[in-house]
Symmetry: C2
């Protein structure tokens, strides 16, 4: 928080508004994190009731995206923010889009839990669960970096995604072997495959959010740049 | 164009700036459209050279996203736009994110063309190609609606995505049968499956862009609403 300019504003109301959208994004992040945990719980224990709860909960995530986005536009129009205030609002408006898509990934995982065909894929579900917990930790740390607007941490997390990708590749190979050995398992394994894919995308979304954190703190758009260049920007 | 407020501005320079980012988004759209066509050409004819060209061309798409986004932020900070001008800039800044992701989808399709394992999947490639051309037409019409900021057309296109989804489901079933009949084909078929998935996502991205068009023209955020509600907003 010490890096933020909140106290520089003459308008106390403007401060309150910026504080408010920051809190709302973090609340949305918390909700998405719970959705992810519950979707993984539902998949590992094939708990249809919990899966249904995750699917039904997605409209709350969507609603938060729309209302925070609306508030961002309102603040831009009313307060005409510049410099770091404007960057904060832009970073928030991009972050909520990625959080909403993580919410969609949770729905996809929950749907795999509902599918009867996955019931026979217990050994695969263990690998998926490990990968899912890894993604959950990554999301948790990303939200932490977001709460503290910590660019150094965001850079570290950005690297972490490569590990999740490796894990994903391993699972895809495992699923392929499985299908080749027992072609009847193919429909069920494909459901698991979509869940794995959804989890892999959670990592990508976290990586995006980390880029917005760096953009806010350092004023540099680091999308599509190499890790080395990003490191230079963060340490400059 | 008649719906736009470009001529209302006292500042001719501001007009020119808004015109300029609109043109740049359309140019980016044109580039992405060519990337999509060429990636599909590369896949249907298994043309490695063309596939490589698509993969290498993606950095231009990325570069356009970053530079247009930068320009949007600059205009917000400098011109403090409100109402429809602000909506235009927000719609553009969201559109380029989706265009960039369509660019990523093209890379994924091109990579499937490079993979030797897909060589034996000719019958599948025909289905993929049909679906791909459907997605290309959808992208073309979406960019058209964007150029004319035509909300009615955007609403029509939004519906179109459901047809693409149906086509995708048919392909997935076809791929599944294929794999079950000949398990040795699984790795190659999975490559085709990723390409199909990438094409299906192009439709989703077009749908998003249509929502931004409606947002700009009608001032209503129609994300996550039903088709009926959307129709009411467009016709109001």
């Amino acid at each position: 928080m010490e890096k933020m300019n909140l106290n520089k504003h003459i308008s106390g109301q403007f401060n309150a508004e910026l504080d408010d959208i920051r809190n709302r994004v973090l609340a949305m992040g918390g909700l998405v994190e719970r959705q992810l945990e519950q979707s993984l719980d539902a998949l590992s224990s094939l708990d249809a009731e919990l899966a249904q709860k995750v699917i039904e909960g997605d409209h709350r995530v969507n609603g938060m995206e729309v209302s925070i986005d609306e508030e961002c536009t309102r603040i831009i129009a009313k307060r005409q923010p510049a410099a770091s205030d404007l960057r904060l609002i832009i970073a928030i408006s991009k972050t909520i889009a990625d959080l909403e898509r993580i919410g969609d990934a949770c729905v996809r995982i929950a749907k795999a839990a509902l599918d009867k065909r996955t019931n026979n894929q217990q050994p695969l579900l263990v690998s998926i669960d490990n990968m899912g917990r890894h993604a959950t930790r990554m999301l948790h740390s990303t939200l932490d970096a977001l709460a503290r607007m910590d660019a150094e941490n965001a850079l570290e997390l950005h690297k972490e995604d490569a590990k999740l990708d490796k894990e994903y590749e391993g699972i895809i190979r495992q699923l392929m072997t499985y299908m080749m050995e027992d072609p009847r398992s193919i429909p069920g394994v494909l459901d698991v495959l979509w869940a794995a894919r959804a989890i892999e995308r959670v990592g990508d979304r976290c990586k995006n959010i980390c880029e917005y954190i760096i953009y806010y703190v350092k004023g540099k758009d680091v999308r599509h740049t190499s890790y080395e260049d990003m490191e230079k920007d963060v340490n400059s």
